[in-house]
């Protein structure tokens, strides 16, 4: 079981310590508070626990999933989990003792390399909690770098990301968050953006695709933002980058992403994988762990956590972030996934996403009363305007075994009838047809 000691072991140990019971070792604890009743349920054996958990898992209903909205269902090759669940990776500690952690360190270095190449950025960190916190940390870095006080975000930014930004920026003195609206086609209104940018704008958050699934005119936006002397933080989707233009190509200063789509299951939204990259000049503004190449005393190539003097365990209250543990195992899944797919595989997946989503959009848009709301280009997600509230559509389709999408009404005024629909490579032609038939039949 969990505790290995026999009573003989325990006796010998107590004798060595020179006490007669463990309770004597707890003398500093207020004795009247010692050993409280916890009122826990009966302990389960492993067999009972397995039955209990399987029963709970079975209580979840596997609906055919057409929701994206920040977490995406993708095919994960078997080798990803087979490798990352090896005890040598799974049960290793943070690689502080580099000589005994070369495996983890090299995989992180390879992760950083793949991410830099995928995003066409110069440096990347070992990972953050998720896309939202990575975005918040990147925005904080922009505020430090520019000394400016206003953060400009698109109105069509993921509502959870907006809320996390609010939390992280709320107590930064004088800092304001301002929204810039989307235009009629669903992508950013560039005229409004130009007006909203000012000499006080620290950065603009370019989310492409945005929360409506629409792709942005990144180069024009980048030019506007940089003309205003502000920094550009791109929020991108890693699978889309198999084919889409990259943050590096439009001169983003920081680039962040939710890395879950890269080989990580949806897991009800967590753990995620915060990806963060930057131009090299901002390398020391990046919070969190970074692995670098080093040499050992014999000149052999090796890997080590580096630039650590930025971090909380050394700088304490002077550190720019308190991040410590990150999502190393999720980053490992991501780098294995990218290694298995390679450039060609990633391109194939991305093209399938584009195709399936566009096929579905066309099918659903043909159903009387329904239309694809926006005309801007999209990747694997789009807004469907329905004749009835989106919440009702979701309810009705759930009864037919389909998870129809994300209802936008709660977060976006006037969009009660709008449904955010996603189709990835996991949805076959038959799945698309099933959705269309089900929707047409309500």
């Amino acid at each position: 079981m969990f505790i290995p000691h026999t009573s003989q072991d325990r006796e010998e140990m107590l004798k060595k310590i020179g006490v007669s019971s463990v309770k004597e070792l707890l003398a500093q604890i207020p004795q009247d508070l010692l050993y409280p009743a916890l009122d826990l349920p009966r302990a389960l054996t492993e067999q009972e626990l397995c039955a209990h958990m399987r029963e709970l898992a079975a209580r979840n209903k596997p609906l055919k999933n057409f929701i994206g909205a920040g977490i995406y269902e993708h095919f994960i090759p078997a080798a990803v989990h087979a490798l990352s669940s090896r005890g040598e990776f799974l049960t290793a500690y943070t690689p502080y003792q580099a000589e005994a952690s070369q495996g983890t360190l090299q995989t992180i270095y390879e992760f950083q390399s793949c991410i830099c190449s995928l995003l066409e950025m110069e440096v990347a960190t070992a990972s953050h909690y998720d896309g939202a916190t990575a975005l918040a940390e990147a925005v904080l870095a922009c505020l430090r770098i520019t000394g400016r006080k206003e953060v400009l975000i698109p109105a069509a930014l993921h509502p959870h990301y907006q809320q996390v930004l609010n939390t992280y920026l709320r107590h930064q003195e004088g800092v304001r968050i301002k929204q810039s609206p989307a235009g009629a086609d669903g992508s950013l209104d560039l005229d409004a953006l130009a007006k909203n940018l000012s000499a006080d704008t620290a950065c603009f958050v370019l989310a492409t695709p945005n929360f409506f699934g629409c792709l942005e005119k990144a180069e024009s936006i980048s030019a506007l933002v940089h003309q205003a002397g502000a920094l550009l933080t791109a929020l991108v989707q890693p699978i889309a980058l198999g084919i889409m233009q990259t943050p590096g190509s439009y001169q983003a200063d920081f680039a962040v992403a939710e890395g879950q789509p890269l080989g990580n299951a949806m897991n009800f939204g967590g753990p995620g994988l915060g990806i963060m990259a930057a131009k090299k000049i901002y390398m020391r503004q990046l919070p969190g762990r970074i692995v670098g190449i080093a040499k050992d005393k014999n000149g052999k190539r090796s890997f080590v956590l580096t630039l650590q003097a930025r971090e909380q365990h050394i700088r304490r209250e002077k550190a720019s972030s308190n991040i410590c543990s990150n999502e190393a195992l999720c980053a490992l899944n991501a780098v294995i996934y990218l290694t298995l797919l390679g450039p060609k595989g990633l391109q194939e997946v991305a093209e399938l996403n584009v195709e399936r989503a566009h096929q579905l959009a066309e099918m659903l848009g043909k159903i009387p009363g329904y239309r694809v709301k926006f005309t801007a280009p999209f990747f694997n997600e789009f807004v469907l305007e329905c004749p009835i509230p989106a919440k009702q559509v979701i309810k009705k389709l759930a009864k037919k075994g389909i998870s129809a999408g994300y209802a936008l009404g709660a977060d976006f005024k006037g969009m009660e009838n709008c449904l955010l629909v996603c189709a990835t490579e996991t949805k076959t032609a038959a799945d698309l047809q099933r959705y269309a038939d089900a929707l047409g039949g309500i």
Binding site: R284, L307, Q308, A309, R310, I314, R315, K318
Partner: protein
Amino acid sequence: MHTEENCRFAKTHEWAHMEGDIATVGISNHAQEEISDIVFVDLPKVGQQVTAGQNCCVIESVKSASEIYAPVSGEVVEVNTALANDPALVNREPHGNGWLFKIKMTAPAEYENLLDLNAYKVTIQK
């Protein structure tokens, strides 16, 4: 040229060397030994106003980040750009080419309040 002998010292281990109203600032040999292998110097910005006794620069080793305090008040008019590529210069020549930045002083009297080499040596022997 600044040497250990013609500098004044702060108790926090910075030195300053005055020429006209410009003070060149660095860290003492004792300080660089304590910090050991310097890997990065986060210098102030040219044009930045600094106040005597306030931190304005950070020196990093692998396992430490040391705050550097301005020994005198004024405006930073020059920083040692050579440190970007060779931070170890501070280890090798703390009183020579390993200087950090130059301050155009607004209160030159502050310089007189700094310690001379002998007085500084007494403080580090404590």
